[in-house]
């Protein structure tokens, strides 16, 4: 009895860790979608870029893990900002299909570049010794890495919430989202706010891609392979809702982890069935605006 319970609890922790990583990767998309209303299918490719840059810093430049990850985030933000100023500009005014195609095209290009530069093998960031190993809480044995991931994601969620609700930039962003024309009239530089937001979204993706690489290993097709799950988290959570993304990511992480353990024959089927059920009941997501 206790062992069944212990198994369930450790699975639940794994599920929460997986869900928190999904949240990290997809929260940037939630923000950019809510703000700019661009269907950005390149988002998970930005996560991949972040992961590969962190890997490059660690392996080639010999930078420590805890410095390499923030560096990768900054570089990815710069790449994102440049792309926003050039390519994404073109599709702001067009219909959904144009955005879909442009961002798929961009994902293809990034995939090809990564494949040429890094090769096709699966890679993940080597964890520093401080993140390896396990620790036990009562009867439970937890991995340090997963606990770190949960803590880091929770910190990011808190920082985002504070940033949007309590800072001047957050106020400008909310104003620009609610009423672009009015925001311009009171002197807010809306395009600059959007660029910054897009860059932050890319940076968050990079953070998720780098920290999550032991769970979702890096490979050139990462951007296409994990696109569906990222889009699902955003859609289930409700477009543009931070809280919704957090709930959705946790829920999907738990369902997926528990489903794979208790119903192994059904595999990934469980999660998509759950998503379909949720979206049928609440087409606008868990937390609809």
């Amino acid at each position: 009895m206790t062992s069944t319970l212990a198994t369930f609890l450790s699975l639940a922790v794994d599920g929460i860790a997986y869900g928190m990583m999904l949240f990290l990767i997809s929260v940037g998309l939630t923000i950019t979608l809510g703000v700019m209303r661009v269907v950005n299918l390149t988002h998970s490719a930005f996560a991949m870029i972040g992961g590969y840059i962190a890997l490059w810093f660690i392996q080639r430049a010999g930078v420590h893990f805890f410095l390499a990850v923030p560096l990768a985030v900054v570089v990815t933000m710069a790449i994102g900002a440049v792309l926003e100023r050039t390519l994404y500009r073109w599709v702001y005014g067009t219909h959904g299909l144009g955005q879909l195609l442009m961002t798929i095209g961009l994902t293809f290009i990034i995939t090809a570049i990564v494949k040429n530069l890094a090769g096709t093998q699966l890679q993940s960031l080597p964890l520093p010794s401080s993140l390896q190993g396990n620790f036990s809480v009562g009867p439970l044995t937890l991995s340090v890495y997963r606990a770190f991931l949960i803590g880091a994601s929770a910190a990011v969620a808190l920082a985002l919430w504070l940033g949007i609700e309590r800072t001047a930039f957050g106020a400008r962003l909310r104003a620009a989202v609610d009423n672009q024309r009015m925001a311009r009239c009171v002197g807010i530089n809306v395009p600059a706010v959007f660029s910054a937001t897009f860059a932050i979204g890319c940076g968050l993706a990079a953070l998720g891609g780098a920290l999550g690489s032991p769970m979702l290993p890096l490979e050139p097709y990462y951007g296409l392979k994990y696109l569906v799950i990222v889009l699902i988290v955003v859609a289930v959570g409700g477009l543009g809702s931070l809280r919704g993304s957090l709930y959705a990511a946790l829920l999907l992480g738990l369902i997926d982890t528990l489903g794979r353990y208790y119903l192994p024959a059904l595999g990934a089927f469980v999660i998509y069935l759950a998503v379909l059920a949720i979206l049928l009941v609440r087409p606008r997501g868990l937390v609809a605006n």
């Binding site: 299909l97 798929i104 859609a235």
Partner: protein
Amino acid sequence: MTTPSLNSSVARAFSRHRYNLLDLVLLGAAVATFFLADLYLALATAVLIMIVFALSLDIAQGYGGIETLGHAAFFGTGAYAAGLYAMHVSPEPISGLFVGMAAAAVVGLLSGLAVLRTAGLTQIMLTLVCATLLLELANVAKPLTMGDDGLTGYSVAPVLGLFQFDIEGRTAYWYALAVLVLVYAFCKFLVSSPLGLTAQGVRENPTRMALLGVPVRRRLLTLYAISAALGGAAGALSAQVNNIVGLDSLGFTMSANVLVMLALGGTGRLYGAFLGAIVFMLLADRAAALDPTNWLAALGVLLIVVVRFAPTGLSGCLARWTSREGTQ
């Protein structure tokens, strides 16, 4: 004052129903391909099948304005249904084709009930979820579908009891061409039928169509089911011609590829499906054989260029060019 313009717009709506020189040229090209393609007959057959699939997407996306990233659901359903029918029920191809279409239409109706309640990104997501759900279902139902190995081991009887499928793929080519001609004629009829015209009205302004008394969702659902059935026909063709159905027939790449083809050719014009599928398949075959990685990059660049400089696709460019020639 308004009568001539009304007449001309009605005339334009009906003129699309007629067959013109271009249709004859396309048919001639298809027949000529049979005699010239030789070793590339299998590729030519694959192009014909993809044209059918792109036409089916054009009906939903181009004419109905239904945004979808999961059209492979119908291709795969049609393919698996036709393959399983050939294996367990009867090897007869034409009934197999209809079984594939019916199965896909059922999937279209059921998923349409969910998909058409929403719009925009949620709609795209729902279509994607439906397709992924079917993919996982096919993956889980290994005893039936053979999972990753692909459904094989069935044979297809001669078409109409007369034309045996041969190793060079001659029968396959004619069979696919015959289906394409029928599907094209049907699409031509559909887009200028009351249902097709209503759907285009809904695409432009759903609220206004609802105010005019059009049962918007029911019309779209009908259109979506028809589009699904045509997609199923493409899948069934592929299953019968290739004697194998893989999981990739339900995959995201399949959905994305057909979307790319249609965008390349131009949505909302039936010729777009032809142009896009031909250009994409030929480029993909040549380039993928030479250098698959850089082909992906080139495809990406091509997509961005099309979105930026030719949002109406190749057929849109051609139409603009021919109309300019005409006025001069």
